[in-house]
């Protein structure tokens, strides 16, 4: 047993220090491309940390969104950035004088000590709200506690979350969309690769969605896997048709939020409480919400990656 404990500690120590080291290298490496690659590795290590912390739901979300999609977004942005900026300026240009940076370091070191102490004195054993969650899990309509919190106990947060996603799209579109990414010649292998992988992605998303009620997984994870499928499609050169970019796209982007609102109004009318599902229907409602939210999340993520405005005239 002791060996295991020591190994666990060693693993945690390596992981923790690795995280800090990777973060530092990400922020400090002179080459931006390297920085992004390091950031993606950082994300994968974070996923590992989530697993160590018994948070498989987050590990899935982190791997798919935190490392995967954010990484793709960053790389795509870098590629576009290189077409617009002059490369003469060093990417590492520090802001502010050395004195200011020194002052900052002193300040932050002080904060670090304070923050560390603040964390350290917390009681070493507490259950938070887990008792309350467990007690109400049976009537929540989901057996995975995280899903129960996300879609039921704190479903209102998730409803607003759908609007956050929508706002990101609105923000990018209102800027007139992004310049198209530099064209690359089509690659046969990539094409085949996508053709094979996309059904797998869809299958995986469906599985994550379905299993989410009982085990790690759910709308956000499924949505991000589906979104990744979309990204892959876009990478291999596929573009949605103009007609698809209008109404169907807008509907897909909002369907999650719309479902939340409709369910909200219905529950308000029949249960007098916003998003209070009747116990008998709770499971079904959660599945409905999750499936439609998955569609919105997936489409939103793919659109964020595409970054182009739906209106052809908008491309300045």
């Amino acid at each position: 047993m002791d060996v295991i404990v020591v190994l666990e500690w060693a693993f945690d120590a390596v992981l923790g220090l690795g995280l800090l080291w990777l973060a530092w290298r990400t922020l400090n490496s002179p080459d931006l491309f390297k920085a992004i690659v390091l950031f993606i590795s950082f994300g994968l290590l974070m996923a590992l940390a989530w697993v160590r912390l018994n948070a498989p739901d987050i590990a899935l979300a982190e791997a798919a969104i935190g490392a995967g999609l954010t990484g793709a977004l960053l790389l795509a942005a870098l590629a576009r950035l290189r077409t617009t900026t002059d490369n003469t300026m060093p990417a590492q240009l520090p802001a502010g004088s050395w004195f200011q940076r020194g002052l900052l370091i002193v300040l932050l070191s002080g904060s670090a000590a304070g923050l560390g102490y603040a964390v350290w004195i917390l009681p070493s054993h507490t259950s938070g709200l887990s008792m309350a969650v467990t007690a109400n899990l049976d009537v929540s309509g989901a057996r995975n506690p995280v899903t129960a919190v996300l879609l039921n106990f704190r479903g209102y947060d998730t409803m607003l979350e759908m609007i956050v996603l929508l706002l990101a799209v609105l923000g990018i579109w209102s800027l007139g969309g992004l310049p198209p990414r530099p064209e690359r010649p089509a690659v046969a292998v990539l094409d085949t690769f996508s053709r094979f992988l996309i059904p797998v992605f869809i299958l995986a998303a469906a599985y994550l969605l379905w299993v989410g009620a009982d085990a790690p997984g759910g709308a956000f994870q499924a949505g991000s896997v589906l979104g990744a499928a979309g990204v892959l499609l876009l990478l291999s050169g596929w573009r949605p048709g103009v007609r698809l970019m209008q109404w169907p796209l807008r509907l897909a982007l909002t369907i999650g939020a719309i479902t939340f609102i409709i369910l909200g109004v219905l529950t308000l009318l029949y249960e007098q409480q916003l998003l209070a599902y009747p116990v008998a229907q709770a499971g079904r409602m959660i599945i409905l919400l999750e499936s439609l939210a998955t569609v919105s999340i997936a489409v939103t993520l793919a659109i964020l990656f595409l970054g182009e405005s739906p209106d052809p005239e908008e491309k300045k």
């Binding site: 160590r52 948070a55 935190g66 300026m89 054993h125 979350e161 990101a168 923000g171 964020l304």
Partner: protein, 102 residues
């Protein structure tokens, strides 16, 4: 289960590291990276300390919060990257013109 605390401390460290880079580096892409790392640090604190339940399953509420937070982070990152590209498209540089910190 005090390795929960160790992870929480790492999280605090990541937050401050990101904050330092956010202020100290001018390049916008680096600032965006810094924000993401700050976010990861905060998430780590939230989730690590949720594991102080002894042998029982960790507290699921912070887990749900972090999933929410990750989605916010990716949305904000996408918007920030788009803005950065627009700024650099107009100025040819991915830094903020004229620091208004005076």
């Amino acid at each position: 289960m005090s390795h929960a605390f160790a992870y929480a401390l790492v999280g605090a460290g990541l937050f401050l590291l990101g904050l330092y880079a956010l202020v100290a580096y001018a390049h916008l892409l680096r600032k965006i990276l810094a924000l993401n790392i700050m976010g990861s640090g905060v998430f780590l604190v939230l989730v690590a300390l949720a594991k102080r339940t002894g042998d029982a399953e960790p507290d699921p509420v912070p887990h749900a919060m972090v999933i929410t937070g990750i989605v916010v982070a990716v949305s904000a990152t996408a918007l920030a990257l788009a803005l950065m590209l627009k700024v650099s498209g107009k100025t040819g540089q991915a830094v903020l013109p004229g620091r208004h910190q005076d």
